[in-house]
Structure formats: C-alpha cells, structure tokens
C-alpha cells in the first residue's frame, strides 16, 4: 500500500527539477526537454488522482459521479498536445538556429527593450 501522497510528492519533485532545468540550462534544446519533464510530472499527478477517484468515488458539484478514468483521457490529450508542441517548437528552434547560428538562449535576446 503506497500512500497516494508519495506519488504526488514525486510529481512535485519532478516538476521542480524541470523548472530548475529551465532556469539553469543554456542550450535551448535542453530547456525544451525540461519543459517535457514538467509535462510528464503533471501527467503523473493526473494518473494518480484518476486512481484515487476511481477508488473513492464522489460527486461532481453538478451532481454527477466522478469518472476516475477521465484522468487517463486527460493525460492522453496532454500527450497529444505535447507532441504537437514539440514538433512546432523544434521547428522554431531550427528556424532560430538558421538566423542566429547559436543554440545559446542568452544570445537570443532581440526582444530586449
């Protein structure tokens, strides 16, 4: 019997590491990967709660019962969106690389006021 909170704490730790990666790394691709890490942490939370709701049941505020499985569906959609985002994001990175010739995110500061 693993307490649910352990899963959630793991998720929080992964999220935190993702944020730290975003802040500390200078390669733009690595930053992108940290974003993927954050998304995965959130997925873990959803799955954990799906299990919780399935085990305990409950009512939505509108009166209908909570379907635990909808947590899985949500994760499904997150993955789809993550895939799309990864595709487009990497395309952008390639475009930026073509103009700036660098993958160092500190050099891409053309929006500076």
């Amino acid at each position: 019997m693993v307490p649910l909170s352990w899963y959630l704490i793991l998720s929080a730790v992964l999220f935190c590491l993702g944020v730290l990666g975003f802040l500390l790394k200078r390669n733009i691709i690595t930053i992108f990967m940290s974003i993927e890490l954050m998304l995965n942490a959130v997925n873990l939370t959803f799955v954990a709660f799906a299990n919780y709701w399935n085990a305990h049941g409950g009512l939505l505020p509108s009166g209908k019962p909570v379907v635990g499985l909808s947590g899985h569906v949500f994760v499904f959609f997150v993955m789809v969106v993550a895939a799309a985002e990864a595709a487009v994001g990497l395309a952008i990175i390639i475009a930026v690389f073509r103009t700036r010739e660098t993958l160092n995110v500190d050099r891409v500061n053309l929006l500076k006021l």
Binding site: I9, L20, L37, V47, D106
Partner: protein, 166 residues
Amino acid sequence: MVHQILFIIFALMCVAGAVNLLRQSHPINSALSLVVVMASLALIYLLLGAEFLAAIQVIVYAGAIMVLFVFVIMLLNAGAEERSTGSRIALIVGVPGALVLGVLVGWIMISNNKLLGSVAISPTDFGETHFIARLLFRDFLLPFEVTSVLILIAIMGAVVLGRKES
C-alpha cells in the same frame, strides 16, 4: 510491501534521470536521460493501474517525441554547452522560487496524507483500453476531433517553419 519497494525503485530511477538531465552538458546526454525518466514513469503508471497510458507513454513520448529531439540535436550539431552567465536574475530569483514552489506543494501533500489514502495493486479492469476508448469516442468525442485538427495545424506549422528560405 512489494508495492512500496517497486515504487521506490522506479521513483529513484526517475529522479536520477531527471537530475542527470540537469547535470549533463551535452544535449544528447540530456535527451537520453529524459528517455530513462519516461520509461520509469511508464512503469509507475503500471503501478497505478494505467495500462493503456503506460503503453502510450512508451510509444508516443519515448518513442516519437524523444526521437524527434534526438534528430534535431543531430541536425543542428549541437555541441556541449558553453558556460555563460546571461542572467543573474535566473539564478538569484528563479532557483529559490522553484525550490519554494516544490517545497510548498510537497508540504501540502504531506499535510493531507490521511485524506489522500493509498493505492493498491489489485486485479481490476480499471485502466483497460476499451474503457478509455468508450470515454474517448463517446463523452470526449469533440475534444478528440479537435486534437486531430490541432495535430494537422502543428504539422503545417512545422513544415512551414522548417523550410529553408529560398
């Protein structure tokens, strides 16, 4: 007992992979660490009874998205990161912020430990594919179709952005 041990092993694998992602300077190493994280997360999903999702995680995330990342790294011939201090704010403000965030969330979880209850591995048909399919094609049909449009747009965007200027 077994459950707990399994969880701890997989959790450690996960965290180790994430930490390694941060510590490596070459992006390809970071990408491979991320694959390790995704694989261990798939195993954790199995512990939580989400069979379909575990499979999807491996196929889509580790198999497609990460491969895409690796392709791009190879295409751009990304080398090891250089050391530059572009932003002091990121270090001074961001790192404490992130840490505080993590600690707070963790603290909430811990203090509500009793409420959350616990998870057990039990032979249920909880995360089975046909149940998810039923939900997906019945209750969540519209979002499903919309995501297909989204993917189409993403494809178009990626093609346009990735094209060479002629």
